[in-house]
């Protein structure tokens, strides 16, 4: 049977994108952005603080890192929990030592289950990003709006109450959205979203409830991608981070800053044999004195102040 005639109709074929969330724009053609104190690169480290339930739903899909052997999958449950009990404290020690305040993308279930961990994060002046309810609550196209709206409101509310922070950034579990997600997070007073991986600088997003900014929260520069998914070595992880940094540093200038973003997961990089792979890469970066360690909110504020 041939395809229906609609298969050869192209209703969004025209200038720009095929959706209305953001404008088409090539990075090298945009106005320059300057960082504080003439920094060439902002260094944004984001730490995932996740709860992987023992009984995740399989619809629409399981988040990377979810349970994968038959119930009860104690093996993966405890491997993930290792991150919140042990691994994150190794990350904190490294970042404390280097004077880096991270952003922490937190599942609100962690705030409910282990407030002590949240206190340790807040005490360091890290920024809390709303990371959804937990890794078993995936936002997706078939989720009804009322349910998704309630999930987002509950997550943001819980995190604001438990941290005392404004909580202005959003990262969806598994970076998965529905068509409504950005409308709904904007309605909760969120300023920026971290799910989009199409840029190296912030750019504006239009929603039914006002404007958001998409921030370049890294997908590639991540232990989840390089070590967990691609199965590269610790040395290769360090090398790729350094290569990324060196290219961005060369392309940037005091008059036109760029962002080096790194995403880490305590259950991956927080293992004893891996933590120094992160430390070595960060030490390489901070050996330059025109690198500005910053949170997502810091970078957003600096960027916004320069937008017409």
């Amino acid at each position: 049977m041939p395809l229906p005639p609609e298969y050869l109709k192209y209703s969004r074929r025209g200038y720009g994108m095929d959706q209305s969330w953001y404008d088409w724009s090539m990075l090298p053609k945009r106005p320059a952005v300057k960082w504080p104190n003439g920094a060439r690169l902002a260094l944004w480290v984001s730490t995932a603080v996740e709860f992987f339930p023992l009984n995740p739903p399989t619809v629409p899909f399981k988040a990377p890192g979810s349970m994968s052997t038959p119930y009860p999958d104690l093996r993966h449950y405890t491997l993930r929990d290792y991150g919140n009990r042990v691994g994150i404290f190794r990350i904190m020690k490294v970042l404390d030592g280097l004077g880096i305040r991270a952003s922490a993308a937190v599942n609100s279930a962690v705030a409910e289950r282990t407030p002590r961990l949240i206190d340790e994060i807040v005490k360091r002046g890290w920024e809390i990003l709303a990371g959804g309810l937990d890794m078993g609550h995936i936002h997706h196209g078939d989720l009804d709006v009322a349910t998704e709206s309630e999930w987002i409101a509950r997550c943001v509310e819980t995190l604001r109450q438990s941290t005392g922070q404004a909580v202005t950034g959003w990262l969806s579990p598994a970076r998965s959205q529905s068509m409504q997600t950005m409308n709904l997070v904007a309605a909760q007073g969120i300023d920026y979203v971290c799910d989009w991986v199409n840029d190296e600088m912030p750019y504006p997003i239009t929603t039914a409830n006002g404007q958001l900014v998409a921030m370049p929260h890294s997908h590639e520069m991540s232990d989840l991608l390089i070590i967990f998914q691609n199965k590269h070595s610790e040395e290769a992880f360090t090398q790729q981070l350094i290569d990324q940094f060196d290219v961005l540093y060369r392309e940037a200038s005091a008059d036109d800053g760029r962002i080096m973003a790194i995403t880490v997961h305590p259950w991956i990089i927080g293992q004893p044999h891996r933590i120094k792979a992160l430390e070595r890469a960060l030490a390489h970066m901070l050996a330059k004195d025109d690198v500005w360690p910053a949170t997502g909110a810091d970078i957003l504020a600096a960027w916004r102040a320069q937008q017409a």
């Binding site: 049977m1 041939p2 395809l3 229906p4 192209y10 998965s176």
Partner: protein, 308 residues
């Protein structure tokens, strides 16, 4: 449609890589090198083809969609600068709707005298299940769109997302297209059996394809550089006997990342710094082959297969 599926596509005859008439590329070059950036547009919510889902996750799969969009917003420029520095012209495998969506990219490539050939309308519209009229409409659209935006008549074809029908090659030959990139059975150009006219296959390597290396084989940037160099060294050695073709298919959304561009550039520089390499385009290889080797090859293959 109850047509029986075949066990052999019938597109070419067996012809072993020994005792072939010698190919010599211009100026005595042993390897013809062509570099083929895929410049692609993926739709967020395309109509569904019953044979293939557009996205791994439910629509909207913003993670994969935005990972592709990165190539156009950011990666293309970085990749193009490497080509400029090394004096390489791209042979663009083009989703032709990109001419309308992102004309700025096309203008930059035209300025550099790059070749354009067709990779379908969008990378999210598959040829599976098309009837002949539909497939003709796609080919005619591609020819007209590329001519309108670049002045070029397309010489080559890489099926959109590598999706075909049994009649694709026949139709391409009929429209005066010279070569296909969809057959991976050789390291030299090959005549393709078509209903009428003359048509060839030019090697377009999946093994050297950055997206296969990075997203399928999950390889590292440095290993990609090692593979490219080893592939070239071997084809150069064999090219002394009879000229070979090396293709490097690229995607700015893969190779254009900061941590990947350096090793790629280093490998490309290594390759083009050799004297015995003809740095060229798909069209130029096809034309040269038709002028000098097509007839003798068809005769030789016929003789080898019993005077067919």
């Amino acid at each position: 449609m109850a047509d029986a599926q075949k066990s052999d596509p019938g597109l070419y005859d067996y012809w072993p890589y020994i005792d072939r008439p010698k190919i010599e590329w211009p100026n005595g070059a042993k390897v013809a090198l062509w570099v083929a950036p895929n410049i692609e547009f993926y739709e967020l919510d395309p109509p569904v083809n019953p044979s293939r889902k557009p996205w791994p996750r439910p629509v909207p799969d913003i993670l994969t969609y935005s990972a592709r969009d990165y190539g156009n917003r950011v990666g293309h420029w970085r990749m193009m600068e490497v080509f400029d520095r090394l004096g390489v012209r791209g042979s663009v495998s083009l989703n032709v709707a990109l001419c309308e969506h992102h004309p700025e990219i096309i203008e930059e490539c035209v300025k550099r005298n790059w070749e354009f050939y067709s990779h379908g309308i969008y990378n999210t519209r598959y040829c599976y299940n098309m009837d002949e009229a539909q497939e003709r409409a796609v080919i005619e659209d591609a020819i007209e769109t590329v001519k309108k935006h670049t002045g070029q008549m397309i010489a080559g074809w890489l099926a959109p997302a590598l999706t075909h029908t049994e009649r694709t090659m026949d139709l391409l030959a009929e429209y005066g297209i010279l070569y296909t990139c969809d057959l991976f059975c050789d390291d030299q150009p090959q005549p393709v059996n078509v209903r009428k006219g003359r048509f060839i296959s030019i090697p377009y390597s999946l093994e050297m394809n950055d997206i296969i290396h990075y997203n399928v084989n999950l390889g590292s940037p440095r290993r990609y550089a090692d593979i490219l160099k080893a592939n070239f060294d071997q084809l150069l050695e064999e090219g002394a006997q009879s000229g070979t073709v090396m293709c490097i298919p690229l995607h700015a959304y893969a190779v254009g990342h900061p941590h990947r561009i350096g090793p790629f550039a280093e490998a490309l520089e290594y390759i083009v710094s050799h004297e015995d390499v003809w740095v060229t385009t798909g069209r130029e290889i096809a034309q040269y082959y038709f002028e000098n080797y097509y007839d003798q090859t068809v005769t030789a293959i016929g003789a080898a297969n019993g005077g067919r």
